[in-house]
Amino acid sequence: MVASQGFHVLAVDDSFVDRTVIERLLKISAYRVTTVDSGTRALQLLGLDGQNDAPCYEAMEINMIITDYSMPGMTGYELLKKIKESSTLREIPVVIMSSENVMARIDRCLEEGAEDFLLKPVKLSDVKRLESYLNKGVKEEEEIGVHPVISASMGIENLESVQLS
Protein backbone atom coordinates (compact mmCIF):
# COMPACT_ATOMS: atom_id res chain seq x y z
CA MET A 1 0.00 0.00 0.00
CA VAL A 2 1.35 3.39 -0.95
CA ALA A 3 1.53 5.38 2.29
CA SER A 4 0.31 8.55 0.63
CA GLN A 5 -2.83 7.10 -0.92
CA GLY A 6 -5.95 9.00 0.03
CA PHE A 7 -4.24 11.49 2.31
CA HIS A 8 -5.45 15.02 1.87
CA VAL A 9 -2.84 17.75 1.63
CA LEU A 10 -3.54 21.47 1.86
CA ALA A 11 -0.99 23.45 -0.17
CA VAL A 12 -0.64 27.16 0.52
CA ASP A 13 1.25 29.46 -1.87
CA ASP A 14 0.58 32.93 -3.22
CA SER A 15 2.22 32.09 -6.56
CA PHE A 16 -0.12 30.62 -9.16
CA VAL A 17 2.76 28.89 -10.93
CA ASP A 18 4.04 27.33 -7.72
CA ARG A 19 0.57 26.18 -6.69
CA THR A 20 0.20 24.45 -10.04
CA VAL A 21 3.53 22.71 -9.70
CA ILE A 22 3.08 21.61 -6.09
CA GLU A 23 -0.40 20.36 -6.87
CA ARG A 24 0.94 18.19 -9.67
CA LEU A 25 3.81 16.92 -7.54
CA LEU A 26 1.37 15.93 -4.81
CA LYS A 27 -1.20 14.38 -7.15
CA ILE A 28 1.44 12.30 -8.89
CA SER A 29 2.43 11.08 -5.44
CA ALA A 30 -1.17 9.91 -4.91
CA TYR A 31 -2.31 12.61 -2.50
CA ARG A 32 -5.61 14.41 -2.67
CA VAL A 33 -4.82 18.11 -2.92
CA THR A 34 -6.50 21.39 -2.12
CA THR A 35 -4.58 24.56 -2.95
CA VAL A 36 -5.16 28.04 -1.54
CA ASP A 37 -3.38 31.30 -2.14
CA SER A 38 -3.10 32.62 1.41
CA GLY A 39 -2.72 31.71 5.06
CA THR A 40 -6.01 33.41 5.81
CA ARG A 41 -7.85 31.21 3.33
CA ALA A 42 -6.04 28.15 4.70
CA LEU A 43 -7.25 28.90 8.21
CA GLN A 44 -10.80 29.31 6.94
CA LEU A 45 -10.70 25.89 5.32
CA LEU A 46 -9.24 24.41 8.48
CA GLY A 47 -12.15 25.80 10.43
CA LEU A 48 -10.43 28.63 12.27
CA ASP A 49 -11.79 32.10 11.83
CA GLY A 50 -8.34 33.49 12.40
CA GLN A 51 -9.31 35.26 15.60
CA ASN A 52 -9.44 32.38 18.04
CA ASP A 53 -9.12 28.66 17.80
CA ALA A 54 -12.78 27.80 18.07
CA PRO A 55 -13.89 26.21 14.80
CA CYS A 56 -16.62 28.25 13.22
CA TYR A 57 -17.96 25.74 10.75
CA GLU A 58 -17.44 22.25 9.37
CA ALA A 59 -13.72 22.06 8.78
CA MET A 60 -12.14 20.34 5.83
CA GLU A 61 -10.28 17.19 6.85
CA ILE A 62 -6.62 17.76 6.21
CA ASN A 63 -3.81 15.29 6.89
CA MET A 64 -0.89 17.57 6.10
CA ILE A 65 -0.22 21.20 5.30
CA ILE A 66 2.53 22.41 3.02
CA THR A 67 3.02 26.15 2.90
CA ASP A 68 5.26 28.73 1.30
CA TYR A 69 7.16 30.86 3.78
CA SER A 70 7.14 34.28 2.07
CA MET A 71 3.59 35.30 1.39
CA PRO A 72 1.99 38.74 1.59
CA GLY A 73 -0.28 39.19 4.58
CA MET A 74 0.17 36.10 6.72
CA THR A 75 3.55 34.43 6.24
CA GLY A 76 3.98 30.65 6.30
CA TYR A 77 5.62 31.01 9.70
CA GLU A 78 2.62 32.88 11.09
CA LEU A 79 0.31 30.23 9.64
CA LEU A 80 2.44 27.52 11.25
CA LYS A 81 2.18 29.27 14.61
CA LYS A 82 -1.59 29.56 14.41
CA ILE A 83 -1.91 25.88 13.55
CA LYS A 84 0.36 24.79 16.40
CA GLU A 85 -1.47 27.06 18.84
CA SER A 86 -4.77 25.45 17.97
CA SER A 87 -5.81 22.53 20.13
CA THR A 88 -7.76 21.05 17.22
CA LEU A 89 -5.14 21.47 14.52
CA ARG A 90 -1.76 21.18 16.20
CA GLU A 91 -1.35 17.49 15.37
CA ILE A 92 -1.46 18.14 11.63
CA PRO A 93 2.07 17.94 10.21
CA VAL A 94 3.17 21.22 8.62
CA VAL A 95 5.95 21.55 6.06
CA ILE A 96 7.43 24.90 5.02
CA MET A 97 8.70 25.72 1.51
CA SER A 98 11.03 28.59 0.76
CA SER A 99 13.21 29.80 -2.08
CA GLU A 100 15.68 31.17 0.44
CA ASN A 101 18.05 28.97 2.37
CA VAL A 102 18.28 31.01 5.56
CA MET A 103 19.47 29.00 8.56
CA ALA A 104 17.76 31.24 11.10
CA ARG A 105 14.48 30.93 9.21
CA ILE A 106 14.75 27.14 9.01
CA ASP A 107 15.55 26.89 12.72
CA ARG A 108 12.67 29.13 13.66
CA CYS A 109 10.19 27.02 11.69
CA LEU A 110 11.47 23.73 13.03
CA GLU A 111 11.38 25.11 16.57
CA GLU A 112 7.81 26.19 16.05
CA GLY A 113 6.91 22.63 15.12
CA ALA A 114 7.33 22.35 11.36
CA GLU A 115 8.18 18.82 10.28
CA ASP A 116 10.44 19.85 7.46
CA PHE A 117 11.69 22.74 5.40
CA LEU A 118 11.81 22.28 1.63
CA LEU A 119 13.96 24.48 -0.55
CA LYS A 120 12.23 25.69 -3.70
CA PRO A 121 11.97 24.78 -6.47
CA VAL A 122 10.34 21.70 -4.97
CA LYS A 123 11.12 18.39 -6.65
CA LEU A 124 9.44 15.00 -6.68
CA SER A 125 12.10 13.60 -4.34
CA ASP A 126 11.18 16.30 -1.79
CA VAL A 127 7.54 15.29 -1.93
CA LYS A 128 8.50 11.63 -1.44
CA ARG A 129 10.00 12.64 1.91
CA LEU A 130 6.64 13.86 3.14
CA GLU A 131 5.25 10.33 3.45
CA SER A 132 7.08 9.76 6.72
CA TYR A 133 5.37 12.72 8.41
CA LEU A 134 1.93 11.39 7.69
CA ASN A 135 1.97 8.63 10.25
CA LYS A 136 1.67 11.30 12.91
CA GLY A 137 -1.42 12.88 11.44
CA VAL A 138 -3.10 9.68 10.34
CA LYS A 139 -6.78 9.40 10.97
CA GLU A 140 -8.20 5.90 11.18
CA GLU A 141 -11.03 5.85 8.71
CA GLU A 142 -13.80 3.43 7.99
CA GLU A 143 -12.51 3.14 4.43
CA ILE A 144 -9.65 1.04 5.65
CA GLY A 145 -12.40 -1.41 6.53
CA VAL A 146 -11.03 -2.91 9.69
CA HIS A 147 -13.71 -4.83 11.57
CA PRO A 148 -13.80 -3.93 15.27
CA VAL A 149 -13.87 -7.55 16.46
CA ILE A 150 -11.03 -8.64 14.21
CA SER A 151 -9.03 -5.56 15.17
CA ALA A 152 -9.48 -6.25 18.87
CA SER A 153 -8.00 -9.67 18.39
CA MET A 154 -5.17 -8.09 16.42
CA GLY A 155 -4.56 -5.73 19.29
CA ILE A 156 -5.71 -2.53 17.64
CA GLU A 157 -7.46 -0.81 20.48
CA ASN A 158 -8.88 2.48 19.43
CA LEU A 159 -10.85 2.49 16.20
CA GLU A 160 -12.76 5.63 16.99
CA SER A 161 -12.25 8.18 14.25
CA VAL A 162 -10.31 11.19 15.46
CA GLN A 163 -12.36 14.23 14.62
CA LEU A 164 -10.56 17.36 13.52
CA SER A 165 -13.20 19.73 14.78
Binding site: S15, V17, S99, P121, K123, L124
Partner: protein
Protein backbone atom coordinates in the same frame (compact mmCIF):
# COMPACT_ATOMS: atom_id res chain seq x y z
CA UNK B 1 11.80 5.19 -33.54
CA UNK B 2 12.94 8.79 -33.88
CA UNK B 3 11.93 10.59 -37.06
CA UNK B 4 13.93 13.56 -38.36
CA UNK B 5 11.33 15.78 -36.73
CA UNK B 6 11.83 14.07 -33.38
CA UNK B 7 15.57 14.51 -33.74
CA UNK B 8 15.05 18.19 -34.48
CA UNK B 9 12.94 18.55 -31.34
CA UNK B 10 15.57 16.72 -29.30
CA UNK B 11 18.24 19.06 -30.66
CA UNK B 12 16.16 22.12 -29.83
CA UNK B 13 15.72 20.82 -26.33
CA UNK B 14 19.41 20.09 -25.90
CA UNK B 15 20.31 23.58 -27.13
CA UNK B 16 18.02 25.18 -24.57
CA UNK B 17 19.98 23.42 -21.84
CA UNK B 18 23.42 23.81 -23.38
CA UNK B 19 22.89 27.53 -23.92
CA UNK B 20 21.83 27.97 -20.31
CA UNK B 21 18.23 28.94 -20.91
CA UNK B 22 16.89 26.04 -18.88
CA UNK B 23 18.03 24.12 -15.83
CA UNK B 24 17.26 20.88 -14.00
CA UNK B 25 13.89 22.11 -12.76
CA UNK B 26 12.56 22.00 -16.31
CA UNK B 27 13.49 18.32 -16.41
CA UNK B 28 11.68 17.84 -13.10
CA UNK B 29 8.55 19.27 -14.69
CA UNK B 30 8.94 17.05 -17.75
CA UNK B 31 9.01 14.04 -15.44
CA UNK B 32 5.60 15.01 -14.13
CA UNK B 33 4.07 14.47 -17.56
CA UNK B 34 2.28 11.26 -18.40
CA UNK B 35 -0.33 9.98 -20.83
CA UNK B 36 -3.08 11.72 -18.91
CA UNK B 37 -1.16 15.02 -18.62
CA UNK B 38 1.15 15.02 -21.64
CA UNK B 39 1.35 18.81 -21.88
CA UNK B 40 1.93 19.74 -18.28
CA UNK B 41 5.15 21.63 -18.96
CA UNK B 42 3.58 23.71 -21.70
CA UNK B 43 0.62 24.44 -19.41
CA UNK B 44 2.87 25.64 -16.61
CA UNK B 45 4.96 27.75 -18.95
CA UNK B 46 1.81 29.32 -20.40
CA UNK B 47 0.63 30.06 -16.89
CA UNK B 48 3.99 31.57 -16.08
CA UNK B 49 3.84 33.94 -19.02
CA UNK B 50 0.31 35.04 -18.20
CA UNK B 51 1.19 35.56 -14.57
CA UNK B 52 4.52 37.24 -15.17
CA UNK B 53 3.02 39.77 -17.60
CA UNK B 54 1.15 41.23 -14.65
CA UNK B 55 4.15 41.18 -12.34
CA UNK B 56 6.26 42.90 -14.94
CA UNK B 57 3.72 45.69 -15.36
CA UNK B 58 3.89 46.22 -11.60
CA UNK B 59 7.67 46.33 -11.68
CA UNK B 60 7.66 48.72 -14.63
CA UNK B 61 5.25 51.05 -12.85
CA UNK B 62 7.43 50.93 -9.74
CA UNK B 63 10.53 51.67 -11.85
CA UNK B 64 8.92 54.92 -12.96
CA UNK B 65 8.58 56.20 -9.42
CA UNK B 66 11.18 58.67 -8.22
CA UNK B 67 12.86 57.91 -5.96
CA UNK B 68 12.79 54.16 -6.49
CA UNK B 69 11.15 52.13 -3.75
CA UNK B 70 13.81 49.42 -3.49
CA UNK B 71 11.82 47.47 -0.91
CA UNK B 72 8.84 47.19 -3.18
CA UNK B 73 10.98 46.39 -6.23
CA UNK B 74 12.80 43.70 -4.32
CA UNK B 75 9.54 42.15 -3.11
CA UNK B 76 8.09 42.07 -6.66
CA UNK B 77 11.25 40.59 -8.06
CA UNK B 78 11.41 38.00 -5.29
CA UNK B 79 8.06 36.62 -6.40
CA UNK B 80 8.97 36.84 -10.07
CA UNK B 81 12.28 35.10 -9.48
CA UNK B 82 10.45 32.35 -7.61
CA UNK B 83 8.27 31.65 -10.60
CA UNK B 84 11.28 31.66 -12.95
CA UNK B 85 12.93 29.16 -10.67
CA UNK B 86 9.84 26.95 -10.63
CA UNK B 87 9.84 26.55 -14.40
CA UNK B 88 13.60 26.14 -14.70
CA UNK B 89 14.23 29.47 -16.44
CA UNK B 90 17.92 29.70 -15.62
CA UNK B 91 18.98 32.91 -17.36
CA UNK B 92 15.94 34.83 -16.20
CA UNK B 93 16.49 33.65 -12.66
CA UNK B 94 20.08 34.87 -12.85
CA UNK B 95 19.06 38.34 -14.04
CA UNK B 96 16.41 38.50 -11.30
CA UNK B 97 19.09 37.75 -8.69
CA UNK B 98 21.25 40.51 -10.13
CA UNK B 99 18.33 42.91 -9.97
CA UNK B 100 17.74 42.05 -6.32
CA UNK B 101 21.40 42.64 -5.55
CA UNK B 102 21.12 46.12 -7.02
CA UNK B 103 17.99 46.69 -4.92
CA UNK B 104 20.00 45.76 -1.87
CA UNK B 105 22.70 48.21 -2.88
CA UNK B 106 20.08 50.85 -3.66
CA UNK B 107 21.60 51.15 -7.11
CA UNK B 108 18.99 52.78 -9.38
CA UNK B 109 20.97 52.55 -12.57
CA UNK B 110 21.78 48.92 -11.90
CA UNK B 111 18.10 48.14 -11.36
CA UNK B 112 16.97 49.93 -14.49
CA UNK B 113 19.61 48.29 -16.69
CA UNK B 114 19.12 44.84 -15.24
CA UNK B 115 15.38 45.01 -15.62
CA UNK B 116 15.87 45.47 -19.36
CA UNK B 117 17.93 42.28 -19.34
CA UNK B 118 15.20 40.46 -17.42
CA UNK B 119 12.67 41.60 -19.98
CA UNK B 120 14.88 40.53 -22.86
CA UNK B 121 15.42 37.07 -21.42
CA UNK B 122 11.71 36.79 -20.68
CA UNK B 123 10.85 37.41 -24.32
CA UNK B 124 13.68 35.29 -25.74
CA UNK B 125 12.65 32.29 -23.68
CA UNK B 126 9.03 32.74 -24.60
CA UNK B 127 9.87 32.54 -28.30
CA UNK B 128 12.22 29.61 -27.89
CA UNK B 129 9.85 27.59 -25.76
CA UNK B 130 6.96 28.51 -28.04
CA UNK B 131 8.86 27.08 -31.00
CA UNK B 132 9.94 24.05 -29.03
CA UNK B 133 6.43 23.17 -27.87
CA UNK B 134 5.01 23.73 -31.34
CA UNK B 135 7.63 21.45 -32.90
CA UNK B 136 7.03 18.85 -30.18
CA UNK B 137 3.35 18.77 -30.95
CA UNK B 138 4.05 18.49 -34.68
CA UNK B 139 6.47 15.65 -34.12
CA UNK B 140 3.88 13.86 -32.03
CA UNK B 141 4.50 11.54 -29.11
CA UNK B 142 7.61 9.44 -29.28
CA UNK B 143 7.34 5.97 -27.71
CA UNK B 144 7.99 6.15 -24.00
CA UNK B 145 11.73 5.97 -23.67
CA UNK B 146 14.30 7.53 -21.42
CA UNK B 147 14.83 11.10 -22.42
CA UNK B 148 18.42 12.02 -23.15
CA UNK B 149 19.59 13.94 -20.10
Amino acid sequence: MASPLHRQVANMRKALFDQGFLDEQFVQLEELQDDVNPNFVEEVVTLFYKDSARTMLNIEAALEQRPLDFGKLDACMHTFKGSCSSIGARRMKSECSQFREFCGERNSEGCLKTYQLVKKEHETLRKKLGNYFQMSRQAGPIETACRPK
